[in-house]
């Protein structure tokens, strides 16, 4: 029965991994219900999780192979191949984009928790990221099936793919914590974040391979962690090549510090949430 001095709600700093582990049951429970909530009462229910990405994939294939006759790079890879690569990029980037756009209103959406209950609000970041990862997993399963059907069994390199998701999840977490706490005080943040996310989408190699970027701009381009993340998702899946470990290691380390700092900032700010909401 430890004493619980003033400001316990704000001041007690715990490492984000520790707090995430401590609240794991709550996080899992909330994530599951958020996912269920999304489809509860709809006609197709959970099938939407597969139907939507399938529709998207169909549209991409049509537009890029039939309308644009696009090529991914010099190897003459077009049509469905292009669509699959694009789809992989979209799915990956969406993990970040979903969390970033949800974050500014995250605390407002859950204000009853904040104002009426003793609720560890920092878990909402985890819940947001896990929900996005779940949608990624659904889409990815579909992508994987198509890839196997079209190009045969994947190489063992695919096993390295989850490692590319680690920095992705960390960046999404950190962003969720930072934007959700700022969103409490700055209601205009939502608009800004939408635009920034769009900009980042086009500045990341989602619609094009990183190799298309002019040589002179490469150093700047690679400062964007999504370059490494997206390449590390595509390389094992489509080319059977292992990711660039050095780049991935650096990005993961940076992402870890980012998430840690975001969590720290969030804990500092959360004490005044109930005052403002």
């Amino acid at each position: 029965m430890a004493p619980n001095p003033v400001g316990a709600i704000a001041a007690r700093q715990t490492h984000f991994l520790v707090s995430g582990w401590r609240h794991r049951q709550l996080i899992i429970r909330l994530t599951r219900s958020r996912i269920a909530e999304r489809y509860r009462g709809s006609l197709l229910g959970g099938a939407w999780a597969v139907v939507l990405p399938l529709l998207m994939l169909g549209v991409y294939t049509f537009v890029f192979s039939e309308v644009f006759h696009s090529r991914w790079d010099g190897n003459g890879l077009g049509g469905v191949g292009f669509a699959l690569r694009l789809f992989a990029g979209m799915l990956t980037f969406a993990v970040f984009a979903d969390c970033a756009t949800e974050a500014p209103s995250l605390m407002h959406a859950n204000q009853t928790y904040i104002k009426q209950m003793l609720f560890p609000t920092e878990v909402l970041g985890w819940v947001s990221v896990l929900g996005a990862l779940w949608r990624f997993a659904m889409g990815f399963a579909l992508l994987f099936v198509f890839q196997v059907v079209l190009s045969g069994g994947p190489s063992l390199a695919v096993l390295a793919l989850p490692l590319a998701l680690v920095p992705l999840a960390l960046i999404a977490l950190g962003t969720s914590w930072i934007f959700s706490s700022l969103g409490v005080f700055l209601r205009d943040l939502a608009q800004v974040v939408t635009v920034l996310t769009q900009a980042l989408l086009f500045l990341s190699p989602v619609f094009y391979p990183a190799s298309r970027v002019p040589e002179s701009l490469r150093p700047w381009f690679h400062a964007n962690p999504f370059v490494t993340i997206l390449e590390s998702v595509r390389a094992p899946l489509f080319d059977g090549v292992l990711p660039d470990w050095r780049a991935l290691g650096i990005v993961t380390a940076v992402a870890f510090v980012y998430a840690w700092a975001g969590h720290r900032w969030f804990l500092r700010a959360k004490g005044s949430f109930a005052d403002v909401l």
Partner: protein, 466 residues
């Protein structure tokens, strides 16, 4: 402070305050953020100021006060939902707040799913929940609705479910904000018995309630908040009755009453007895009447009781005999007893004389408006005696009896009996009076005296357990 005392303290607060920054315009908030170091862009609103509070382990403390007096803010600080802006606060133990009903319940999920969610939110692990699920289900007692979406619940069912989860979390400190009033009588009773049980187990309980009865029944101590400050801590009975005084006072009298309350808090010798002492009974000479066994009201109507019961309404003459045939110009005594099943506040008693056709002729109350008996504990019996000076023309008359008390909805009848008794005034061959009332001047004056003289004798019964 010895470690023993320290160990016994559940909550200790000194100078606890909460000030909100109030911004005239939203952009001021941003300015404050950026330029706050040099200038202030807001004014402070003090929701709670300078509250000292010590709650011992196992104590049940009630917080009362008018709306906006800072009760809820205080509770929220004590459970750690709001960060205090000043003072120190130490809370020892696991706190379970129940501040609002069904918070976080999702309408599309079943009761079971919501219980699982809610349990996770308030920190009950899955293993513990599995163990307690049966007792939660039993406590909520909503039958097969438990597996139906919460959307289909009545509001009563939602609160039962929410309360069932919270109260089964075995908190060291239970903090409850004005929610026990929901649900039906039987469920409230179940909640109280569970709270009693938690008390026995040594849990500390803090609650805000507008139900004065609850505070008196459940609490060891009560705190009165006014304007964000704690103005009185003391025995629940005293605190609640002063709270009522403050609540129903006209605005211009409030400062005066507040002053009185503060005086008492400063530790004046308990003036409660002096205040509640009924006026000395003077026995007025009564006349002799007679009794006609056929003269009994057929239309007696007793309203449902709200914690008090009027019993044995009767007219008594000089010999102490029950009479119903009275002599014009003579004086008799109209008496009844009131049994209090629950505590009551601001209690006044009344009577009314009506004609055969139901016309209301004259009534009396025991005390002027706003000056009722501060507090009557449960189990008390009040004996009422109203002087009845028969200034009436011959004929049959009915008597009403009523008990008024202050409740959350204002002054209400705690019990009321219409046509409780009847009497007949005998014809007087020498009478000069016509019409309904005898208006001879001296006698009118006596009616007023009679009104002043409505007598109340309070006999305190045994206090209820706890």
């Amino acid at each position: 402070m010895s470690s023993d005392v320290e160990h016994a303290i559940a909550i200790e607060a000194t100078g606890l305050s909460k000030a909100y920054a109030v911004y005239a315009k939203p952009q001021d908030r941003l300015k404050q953020l950026v330029f706050g170091r040099w200038r202030r862009f807001h004014r402070d609103f003090h929701a709670v100021s300078d509250v000292d509070l010590r709650v011992y382990r196992g104590e049940t403390v009630g917080v009362v006060g008018r709306n906006g007096s800072g009760k809820s803010t205080l509770l929220k600080m004590l459970c750690g939902i709001l960060a205090p802006s000043g003072g120190t606060l130490a809370v020892h133990g696991h706190v379970a707040p129940i501040l609002a009903i069904g918070v976080g319940f999702h309408p599309d999920f079943s009761g079971r799913e919501n219980v699982e969610m809610n349990a996770a939110v308030i920190g009950i692990s899955s293993a513990v929940l599995a163990e307690r699920l049966d007792s939660i289900i039993a406590f909520a007692d909503i039958g097969e609705f438990f597996d139906q979406p919460v959307r289909s619940y009545s509001s009563g069912m939602v609160s039962r479910l929410a309360f069932a989860v919270a109260i089964n979390s075995d908190p060291d400190i239970l903090v409850v904000d004005e929610i026990l009033s929901v649900g039906d009588e039987a469920f409230s009773r179940k909640c109280f018995s569970r709270i009693e049980q938690l008390k026995q187990q040594g849990s500390t309980i803090l609650f805000v309630s507008h139900s004065s009865n609850l505070v008196v029944q459940l609490c060891d101590r009560a705190i009165l908040m006014e304007g964000g400050r704690r103005v009185l801590t003391g025995e629940p009975k005293t605190v609640v009755s002063l709270y009522h005084k403050l609540l129903y006072a006209p605005p211009e009298r409030r400062p005066e009453i507040l002053h009185e309350i503060r005086e008492r808090d400063a530790g004046r010798a308990s003036p409660e007895q002096g205040d509640a002492k009924p006026p000395a009974l003077r026995d007025e000479p009564l006349s002799i009447g007679s009794y006609d066994p056929n003269l009994r009201p057929q239309s007696t109507l007793a309203y449902p009781s709200r914690g008090a019961r009027i019993e044995n309404p009767r007219l008594v003459d000089a010999r102490g005999e029950i009479v119903n045939v009275l002599r014009a110009g003579a004086t008799y005594s109209y008496r009844y007893e009131v049994h209090f099943d629950t505590a009551a506040f601001g209690v006044r008693f009344g009577m009314l004389v009506k004609t055969l056709s139901g016309f209301e002729l004259a009534g009396q109350v025991s005390r002027p408006w706003g000056q009722g008996i501060d507090c009557v504990v449960a189990g008390s019996v009040a004996s009422l005696r109203f002087s009845l000076h028969v200034l009436l023309i011959p004929g049959a008359y009915f008597l009403n009896a009523g008990v008024l008390g202050l409740t959350a909805e204002g002054e209400q009848y705690l019990h009321r009996v219409v046509d409780a008794a009847m009497f007949r005034v005998e014809p007087d061959p020498h009478s000069l009076t016509t019409g309904q009332v005898d208006l001879s001047a001296t006698r009118v004056a006596e009616v007023e005296v009679a009104e002043q003289d409505a007598r109340v004798r309070l006999v305190a019964g045994p206090r209820p357990a706890g």
